[in-house]
Subunit: 511 residues, 2 copies
């Protein structure tokens, strides 16, 4: 028997290739909707996405795919399949069973309602009026409750909400998430207290330089180039556009990021660019041979977020990174930053203070934002609260946990697009990502010689290469906990992340 996969396997992979290409098309339409599409086209676009998801669902649940899976597993040559092929087959079968369990009509409804809800969210956020979002959001939540209930059975998890988390972070249980959050909350609250009690802590540190959009665009290019994400060469596979809520979209040779430019807050675009560039590099580094196979995509949102937050925070807010970049930044933002020292700048970008907006939060309080969302989502999908209750509960939790008074729902529960997009169960991934991040950093310290020095010279190549080899290239070859164990030798644990934060703030605030 040759090592060539046998005929049924090849045929199955051909079907999957079509499916993945169809998903890529949907990705382009989604990206266009957020960045380019004229406002009047919302309904038209929702019809396009609904049709494609209907076709995708039909293709992914076709009798042919079911038959091919069975035939391969029954074939006497099954054992000749290699690790990659077996993993592909596992992922295909898993997706097939899940998709088959969801009625076509429900999927089409979900896609259509999602576009409408995102559109309502935009209007509602602009007018700071939750009542403009509520009816659509209620419909979308109802659809996702049905989906969650069905998936909980197929995925054999205990609760519908756990099934939603499992979409983004396969094989993680709500128990684990609960344990992580409570460990983290304790550690972070203690650290926050220490920082705020430090004699060097200034509660109102803010850099209020005005920086024109054109200059911020130059900074974006400097950052992406430094990190190794090409958006300008004649062989570029990326681009940068503007959206209110930054995101990364695309597949292999076409990975696009977005950011926003606020003239009165240039740091906002700097850190969203660093974050999204982390996502983009992660995508671009997946093993080219995995293209159009199930293993050719990053296994989980947690792993993805670990990479975006690694580039944004661990690298992007480090003394070493700005040792290299701060003089260049000063050149672009001239004369505004003339009298600012590197140390002052580092205190600005690492300033710790409870705040209302998640994506602007510092590393210490960030996970409390996630905790709040996690608790609310869980209650919503366990039918303990209703969509109607969201503003009140949101505002109460921000008062209790972060000590803040939310003035309107635009700076409250409507700040993120996730819920309007139907991404229920996604938020925990950010915190899981942070935790992975800590474990990965610990491994980098052991393996990449002089990594801090290299960053200080703007040389990211070695770190990128290590991350590519150990994390990115594997795509979906391993479940995330297995991957993290391979890299760090440990199961998911909050200790390295807390240690990283303590070390960092000890140095910054002399605590």
């Amino acid at each position: 028997m040759s090592t060539q996969p046998f005929f049924s396997y090849k045929k199955l992979l051909d079907r999957i290739k079509d499916l993945i290409i169809l998903q890529n098309v949907q990705g382009i339409l989604q990206w266009d909707m957020e960045t380019m599409m004229p406002p009047r086209a919302v309904k038209q676009r929702s019809q396009q996405l609904a049709l494609l998801s209907r076709i995708e669902h039909k293709m992914s649940t076709s009798l042919e795919i079911g038959r091919l899976i069975k035939r391969i597993k029954a074939n006497s040559n099954y054992e000749t399949l290699d690790l990659y092929q077996k993993r592909n087959l596992y992922l295909i079968e898993k997706n097939y069973e899940e998709q088959k369990s969801l009625p076509e009509k429900l999927i089409a409804e979900k896609t259509k309602q999602q576009v409408l809800t995102v559109n309502s969210w935009k209007k509602a956020k602009l007018r700071k009026d939750f009542s403009l979002l509520k009816p659509d959001l209620e419909k979308l939540v109802e659809i996702h409750k049905k989906i969650a209930e069905i998936l909980a059975k197929v995925k054999r998890v205990k609760t519908p909400y756990n099934a939603l988390i499992d979409i983004y972070e396969p094989k993680i249980s709500t128990q684990t998430v609960n344990r992580i959050f409570s460990q983290l909350q304790k550690g972070l609250e203690a650290l926050l207290k220490k920082i705020q009690n430090s004699s060097e802590y200034r509660p109102n540190q803010k850099n209020i330089s005005l920086v024109a959009t054109e200059k911020q665009k130059k900074i974006s290019q400097l950052l992406t180039r430094t990190l190794g994400y090409d958006t300008f060469s004649s062989n570029s596979g990326g681009r940068i556009d503007e959206t209110e809520h930054p995101f990364t979209a695309g597949y292999f040779d076409d990975i696009r990021i977005t950011t926003h430019y606020y003239p009165n807050d240039y740091l906002s675009s700097i850190f969203s660019i660093l974050h999204e560039t982390g996502h983009a590099i992660c995508e671009q580094n997946i093993n080219q041979e995995f293209k159009y196979q199930p293993i050719g995509s990053i296994i989980s949102s947690g792993i993805h977020e670990s990479q975006s937050r690694l580039y944004e925070n661990i690298i992007g807010r480090s003394k070493e990174f700005w040792t290299y970049l701060f003089p260049k930044l000063k050149q672009i933002v001239s004369p505004q930053l003339e009298n600012l020292s590197l140390n002052q700048f580092l205190l600005f970008i690492n300033h710790v203070k409870p705040s209302k907006i998640r994506i602007e939060a510092d590393e210490v309080t960030y996970n409390m934002h996630i905790l709040i969302r996690y608790q609310i989502e869980a209650a919503l999908f366990e039918n303990k609260i209703e969509v109607n209750d969201l503003p009140e509960i949101w505002n109460q939790k921000y008062a209790d946990i972060l000590g803040l008074k939310i003035k309107n729902d635009a700076e409250g529960l409507m700040q993120d697009s996730h819920w309007a997009n139907g991404y229920y169960g996604y938020f925990p991934s950010y915190t899981i990502g942070n935790i992975y991040c800590g474990q990965i950093l610990k491994a980098i310290k052991k393996s990449v010689i002089n990594y801090k020095n290299k960053i200080a010279f703007g040389e990211l190549a070695d770190i990128n290469q290590w991350l590519k080899e150990k994390v990115h290239s594997h795509g979906s070859l391993y479940d995330s906990n297995d991957l993290i164990k391979k890299i760090s030798g440990e199961n998911i644990t909050t200790q390295p992340y807390l240690h990283y934060l303590e070390e960092k703030y000890r140095e910054l605030y002399n605590i």
Copy 2:
């Protein structure tokens, strides 16, 4: 029997709706490819388009559609269908028979090869090197020869090339096209001589003001707003982007145009904006009730081009239009145009002179560019010449017909993207459009009171409304010759167009 269409008809239209939505998706991907896509993604995009065209072909030739057509035609209620419904059925059946005749593999090959050829064309044009385009172009022509041969049989036309023309201009024969071109050539050559012999003719009139891109963008907005194409409001259904070769793309609520901005040639963007805005308005004015039906798209490229060239030339190069806009233009392009009078400007924008680039040609020599392309296409598809011969034949014809020496293939046969895009048989539509334009203008003169005065006050609403009612709104309800006859009372005839040109240039040059 009620006037409601019966069940099979409704079911058939549902299938067609899916098909049209799938075509819209392809339109977005094509637009993105030309405007936004990172260069590395070419192959990936060609795979996406190939998959969609395969799915589209499968859907459009499904047994179900064939069965539904038969069932409707055999149904005793068939006669209760109204005019619109019968026309839909006719167009569906026509498309079904044609699509069914084309092998799925050939269609997928065509789509894939088209993307590759467009990409080669871009590189070849940039480097002025036809040899970089030739291999891909040969493959694409071969594919289209096969398609043309099959379609000639189904369409029951005499030659494969006639079948290609019929794609863009249904029911027009090569004999008609030949007759039109020879009448036009005679008339235009005589007019050209008269103009060049006029004592007021200056052979080297050129406006060489340098105008920055940002200012040209302002001009674009002024023009589209004046004509009535909204790209800025919160309910806009349009947008303007930049591509080397301007085009219009989209469907109903999402119609996008492109242009290019050359700082040393601001007139180029002005007239491409006017041209594409004509296309866009035409699309936006189709009867909303026809959406997702075969009658809901403009019947032919000739009709489409008649509208783009009406807005670009008949309105856009008229004294009245610039009586209104020239002061506003001067304000934007200040101080460069300070010493220019309206009359001088009109002589610039209507300057007649044989030139190498089609899209920059004046109204008198424009159709000679088309004639050359038409003759070459016909010879290519009648196997009288080969792709390899194109540069030589092209350059020879430009010498013979326009008296010009082509220096390289970038300013020669590679100037247009049509052939690289597989649009063989499209070029005649431009000239057919011009001729329709003349017939439509004659009808406007009779029906829209004071239309010239209205233009001089920037009031386009009455003309737009008339065009919407008489031309745009009908979509594909009538074949183009029938539509023109309804509007003008005559079959296609070159006389009104020649008359328009003679009258215009008589006034400009006192001939």
